[in-house]
Symmetry: C2
Subunit: 353 residues, 2 copies
């Protein structure tokens, strides 16, 4: 089922609203942090072509960390936030976390067989890809709620870990966690080497992303801000406490929610923010509106050959996934955000190229 | 008004429920982190008397950080959480944050004069201390909502900063931020020197505590988990974005909320937790229930001479503030939490002694 979901057919907003329901894990993955780069700019950002986007990053780091710089930023205030889907890794044609939800449906049916005859589960089980792609928003939400809640933290842990180790992207035939953009890995390393604390701020499920953030990005789980469901504290028959994931959204980390949750979870305005869609607009605005040197950058998916091309900017056709609209492009130009062209600014896309 | 609020008259739970409404600040205080101590146990915890409580901390650090220890904990999993009021600093006879709320009432009345004739504001303005102490829970909530919401982040910043610089505790005639327990400062430093990341997990307002956590405890604002109100993102007349504090509780960081919000904000089960009341019970249980070496400690206020004595354990009279109940004491003994006697275990209480 997973490998053949048609591209672009499932609405981005619909998916985003469903990824809010993942509990935290008690058994963490072993950390393999990205190694620090040199703090000098020579040799920094090796996967970037020379150009205005690379230069904007180098200038920002020089201005905010250089001794004697009038725009010097205290180390404790060096916060950089990154959207994940479409900014740090591939989001097209469908978010990998929603594929996880679809793959979890059979297990949900096994626990509650009566659901097999009820929509939207009936359609998912049919394997009819066209029909799955046409499910209404309410149906997609029901899938997310059913697959991402009602279990303990430990149960979620085991399920998500197993999936992440085995599921593969159909185009590249690799684990989804291999599909991070090497130029953005360069940025994460370069900013950290210059004293920045890097955060993921994602519309996806906070606790799903926490399963791999350290291993994949060198970002510890407490530096992942995402959509999140409520949990409730309870006791098992032996009196041992545990947390259960409830089918209720606590944080919707999209749009204004990104700025609001940065405030809640971090408590400092970022000095740098990276996004790729309208869901990142407020985070980019909020970052850029701060005093001193602020860097807001937005990734334009304009490389159909090496990755994908979507969004209306530069005359590219719009799709339902990745809503980098013309209005957002205009705001970027007006407010001084830097647009990153994958095609022109990135020497390579993936580490395995 | 502030200096003469009668002791013990305002219910703890009532206060806790009101401290959830503070926005974050964009202009941080300058960091003055506590200096790291040596990682060896000789010379560690200098403000502690030798005894079972001090030994429990030394044993825990040895077991979780010693090379080759069967209970060794990976550095990224070294999380320690601390309740604030009554655990890190004085909470008796009244939480300093609620004094802030009372002190803010005149400014609220100035903005909305009609409130002067309405309860509970009428009573607060009267200065009648007996009457203020007898206000019902609903009245206390109204005071908190009126004084801690309806302003922008920047406005809150300016007000809270000014208050913290000038307000003083009536018994010790010092700023409230001087009233931290030196033995707990020792613990914070000792754990950090051994690779632990220290968090405050408070029923108090997250963003109020973030105003001074770095300067006072060496804990950066993003490592403060507390009760929190919703914020909303908006634009001023020039199109510049800002966040407004809303009169609606998002996170109630008391009781089960402490375990649930540790999950939300940190995403890892602590290996050590410190509290002093029933509001910390679930955090202490959740910590202790983890695998391997876990340390749960609870502060008993049994030193009427150097600080205060309250709580029923050891035959002390109960009061409405600091509900260290007999049931909690029994659970501590049964579950292997370590009780800290301020009188017996602490060589000194404050740094200025």
């Amino acid at each position: 089922m997973t490998d053949n979901i048609p591209r672009s057919a499932i609405d981005r907003r619909a998916l985003l609203s469903m990824l809010a329901l993942l509990p935290v894990l008690s058994a963490p993955l072993v950390s393999i942090s990205a190694s620090a780069q040199t703090t000098t700019s020579s040799g920094a950002l090796p996967s970037w072509n020379d150009g205005p986007a690379k230069q904007a990053i180098l200038d920002f780091v020089r201005d905010t960390t250089g001794p004697g710089s009038p725009k010097f930023v205290l180390p404790e205030d060096r916060i950089a936030t990154f959207d994940q889907d479409g900014t740090l890794w591939v989001e097209h044609p469908i978010y990998s976390q929603f594929i996880y939800c679809l793959d979890r449906v059979p297990a949900v049916i096994k626990a509650k067989p009566a659901l097999a005859k009820v929509e939207p589960f009936k359609t998912v089980l049919s394997g009819d890809r066209e029909a799955i792609a046409k499910l209404p928003l309410r149906g997609l939400e029901e899938i997310a709620i059913a697959t991402l809640s009602g279990m303990t933290v430990d149960e979620f842990d085991a399920e998500a870990k197993k999936w992440l180790e085995t599921a593969k992207d159909p185009r590249w035939k690799r684990p989804y966690t291999d599909l991070t953009y090497q130029p953005m890995q360069d940025v994460l390393s370069y900013l950290r080497a210059n004293g920045y604390k890097t955060y993921i701020v994602t519309g996806g499920g906070q606790d799903f992303v926490r399963m791999y953030s350290d291993r994949v990005y060198g970002i510890p789980r407490e530096q992942v801000v995402g959509s999140a469901g409520e949990t409730t504290y309870g006791y098992d028959k032996d009196g041992k406490p545990f947390l259960t994931k409830e089918p209720k959204v606590l944080l919707n980390d999209n749009n204004a929610g990104k700025a609001e949750n940065i405030h809640l979870m971090i408590g400092r305005r970022p000095h740098a923010a990276f996004g790729n869609s309208t869901g990142d607009r407020q985070m980019l605005e909020y970052t850029k509106a701060g005093d001193g040197a602020r860097l807001s950058m937005i990734v334009l998916h304009d490389d159909a050959q090496r990755e994908y091309a979507y969004g209306p900017a530069r005359g590219l056709p719009d799709t339902k996934v990745g809503t980098f609209t013309q209005a957002l492009y205009d705001e970027a130009k007006k407010d001084g955000w830097t647009v990153i062209s994958m095609k022109n600014d990135w020497k390579k896309i993936f580490s395995f190229e």
